[in-house]
């Protein structure tokens, strides 16, 4: 890879760090961008659904998120370009179709005491801990944008959107966060 080949996030220009919105007390919302990250979509081949889920369970050093019928996102930080894709193709090629989505999606992490309140302005998914525990993923719509939503902690969620919508979506998300005061880290 050439020196100059640095991955540039779709939000590089907009997601500026700092404290915004209502300024009283601790921020209700904390936002950050998960970038660069490797994202590979794995779709079970015909009749391989079980095989795939067991194989994925066996993987280490990656996170696996449900992403639809017999489909999963496999994520990992700090891998070289195409590396995770290659690795998975090697390991899973027989049972799954793989597609590198690392550049196609932008992942925004939303945390803080008000994270549920902000997300409730967008998604019809019931995020009550009993209905949507940590580790659960859902595909839904927020502000007219398709969102892949994962609860990664009690008050922490990851929102993954198509790259092209990232700026618009960020705009909506931050506006909705203003009343609680938000921090971009």
């Amino acid at each position: 890879m050439p020196e100059s080949a640095r991955r540039v996030s779709a939000l590089a220009q907009v997601a500026l760090q700092g404290r915004f919105g209502a300024s009283r007390g601790a921020p209700g919302i904390v936002l950050s961008i998960r970038h660069p990250v490797s994202i590979v979509m794995a779709i079970a081949r015909r009749g391989q659904a079980e095989a795939l889920s067991t194989a994925l369970a066996g993987l280490s050093g990656v996170t696996v998120q449900w992403a639809g019928a017999d489909q999963y996102y496999v994520l990992a930080e700090s891998r070289g370009e195409g590396e995770l894709y290659g690795e998975l193709k090697h390991k899973l090629g027989g049972i799954a179709a793989l597609s590198d989505q690392s550049h196609g999606r932008v992942i925004i992490s939303v945390s803080g005491p008000k994270s549920r309140s902000v997300l409730a302005k967008g998604t019809p998914v019931d995020l009550h801990r009993h209905e949507f525990p940590v580790g659960r993923s859902a595909i839904t719509q927020m502000a007219h944008v398709g969102v892949h939503l994962t609860r990664v902690g009690e008050d922490t969620f990851e929102l993954s959107v198509f790259r092209g919508f990232a700026e618009s979506f960020w705009d909506w998300l931050t506006t909705q966060s203003e009343e609680f005061g938000y921090q971009v880290t």
Partner: protein, 95 residues
Amino acid sequence: MLIKCPHCGTRPVEEFVFLGDAKPERPASLDPSAMDQWYDYVFLRDNPRGRIAEYAHHAGGCRSWLVVERDTATHDVHSCVTARQWALARKETAG
């Protein structure tokens, strides 16, 4: 209207796109004599008042095509399976 997607759980109607009656079955024959079956399949609908099994695409969710059994007079949703299950079952019975 709430629909229980087999993959995503219960979701409101805004996440779905509907494509009408799932009963008409795509004919197998390409013979000109099958033209009427094709015409039926593409253009004619029972359009019942009451229960209908209809295609719904979970476009705002997992993107699966579903077959929802719903009452067109009351909008009550009775059941929901994947179009895949529905099609395979139908091919089964067709033998």
